[in-house]
């Protein structure tokens, strides 16, 4: 695997430290005008989601991580395993509930997600920013009330629960922002 020298350090770089893949989320270059350069970095562990703070000096290097992003279609869930398929190679990948994390709330069969592979193994999956899902259950709609500040809990077809404006009803399709988990609007078929 190639490596990155400090001069190539930047946000978004994928590197490997002690066998784990990390993404550089911050890299602060500090240097006295006539002195040695230091790079104060924050790195997010892509497996554990923890953040590591490390300082490097000019000339240090970090091994590049074999991290790839692919478009993967969600096929089905089998117990604890979520099965996806690479849309270009048709290869299938399985992720466990920990790896899928909160994404399960939005996963609907056929949905194309962004999957991250490390050494060709899936490590995380991100649903599209906006998804449309059907409401499986909620209290009856409050007729005539179109205010969005009056809310109620609803259960989605995926089994996830969230809060929606009071005017939505069972069977409605709604659009959700998966980054914030917030209701956006009602959607059509």
């Amino acid at each position: 695997m190639p490596s990155y020298n400090t001069s190539e350090f930047k946000k978004g770089l994928k590197v490997q430290i002690d066998g784990d893949p990390y993404m550089m989320i911050e890299c602060n270059f500090v240097k006295p005008g006539k002195g040695n350069a230091l790079y104060k970095c924050k790195l997010r562990n892509l497996l554990r989601n923890t953040v590591l703070e490390r300082t490097y000096k000019g000339g240090d290097s970090l091994e590049a991580a074999d991290v790839a992003e692919i478009a993967a279609q969600y096929l089905y869930r089998q117990g604890d395993a979520f099965v996806f398929m690479d849309n270009s190679s048709y290869e299938q990948y399985e992720l466990n509930a920990d790896q899928v994390d909160d994404a399960w709330k939005y996963l609907k069969e056929g949905m194309v997600c962004n999957m991250v592979l490390f050494n060709n193994n899936p490590i995380s999956v991100t649903p599209p920013n906006h998804v449309v899902l059907r409401i499986e259950y909620c209290e009856p709609a409050v007729r005539g009330n179109t205010a969005t500040n009056l809310t109620k809990p609803v259960k989605l077809e995926t089994g996830a629960e969230m809060v929606c404006p009071a005017f939505v009803d069972i069977g409605d399709l709604i659009k959700i922002d998966t980054r914030t988990g917030e209701y956006l609007e009602r959607a059509k078929e």
Partner: protein, 310 residues
């Protein structure tokens, strides 16, 4: 932002013109380059009759300005661009605006005084307090930067210096001093009033004169405001023989660090041999001055086209 830069440039030019300085311009692209351990110039190869001629984008206009001084220019200043490879961060852009000036006859005290007055004229925070490098280290790290050994410096860094790079195993005292300066000293400098640090370790003299000790110190000075390094000045080294030695030493160090050596001979050496008048000179990072006045936290906020969009 453009208006603020314009306003500061006008103040700056007025400041120097009132004091009898002449604004000059020198080439950005030169056959000569400063040989520094920690500055990486951009090389530019110009095709020239089947071969190519290597030129450098200046890391500062120092060499050319000193050649003018040796030719009898008198006090000079310029606003120019300097280029330094891979220096990118909240306070660094690989191409940046540098103000540099020289006044014949100035010793270090006169150079410090002029810098302090310019700082006040641009920032309006009053004249600077002065403090030796040694006093600042004693106050903020508890050690004597001239006497402490590399292991002693490392000890302090490990205890108080935050995250120390794993690769910092060297017995290079200057590497440890720089780490402590950045981590423990700089953040405290110039918080109320501006501060000018002076009398640097002789090992960090660059192009400054060294005053014999003990301890021997470099007649170098730096202006700090709000923990940010704004300017670096020297009571200038005049001796071409000593500069040759330093160039050789810096290249030896560069090779050891896997960096390409830089040309040791330059037209500056010839000018110094012909006679550079005694003087003090300072280089100031103009974009950082704008940052401070604008209250910006990233240099990109004060540049019309930062490096990513250049």
């Amino acid at each position: 932002m453009l208006r603020l830069r314009d306003e500061l440039l006008r103040k700056l030019r007025a400041f120097f013109h009132e004091r009898g300085f002449v604004e000059i311009e020198t080439p950005l692209l030169s056959a000569d380059v400063v040989v520094d351990r920690h500055l990486e110039p951009f090389a530019v190869d110009m095709p020239c009759g089947g071969t190519s001629r290597r030129m450098w984008l200046q890391t500062s206009p120092e060499f050319a300005m000193k050649r003018l001084l040796a030719a009898g220019s008198g006090p000079i200043f310029q606003v120019t661009h300097a280029f330094r490879q891979s220096e990118r961060g909240p306070r660094h852009n690989p191409e940046f605006t540098m103000v540099e000036w020289y006044r014949p006859g100035d010793n270090m005290a006169a150079g410090v005084q002029l810098l302090s007055e310019l700082g006040d004229a641009l920032l309006g925070r009053g004249l600077a307090e002065t403090m030796t490098y040694q006093a600042a280290f004693r106050q903020y790290t508890g050690i004597d930067p001239h006497a402490a050994t590399a292991p002693a410096l490392r000890e302090v860094a490990n205890q108080r210096g935050g995250e120390v790079p794993d690769s910092m195993t060297s017995d290079d005292r200057d590497a440890w001093l720089d780490l402590l300066l950045v981590e423990l000293v700089e953040p405290n400098l110039g918080l109320g009033k501006p501060v000018i640090l002076y009398d640097y370790p002789a090992s960090q003299a660059a192009l400054a004169k060294v005053r014999p000790g003990p301890p021997a110190v470099a007649e170098r000075f730096e202006l700090y405001v709000d923990g940010i390094e704004l300017a670096n000045g020297y009571h200038e080294l005049l001796d071409a023989g000593i500069l040759r030695e330093r160039n050789r030493e810096n290249n030896r160090h560069r090779r050891a660090q896997g960096q390409a050596p830089l040309p040791e001979e330059s037209r500056l050496l010839a000018a110094m041999e012909a006679g550079l008048p005694a003087c003090a000179g300072v280089a100031m990072g103009f974009d950082r001055v704008v940052m401070l006045v604008a209250g910006a936290s990233d240099i990109a906020e004060v540049l019309p086209f930062p490096f990513d969009r250049a």
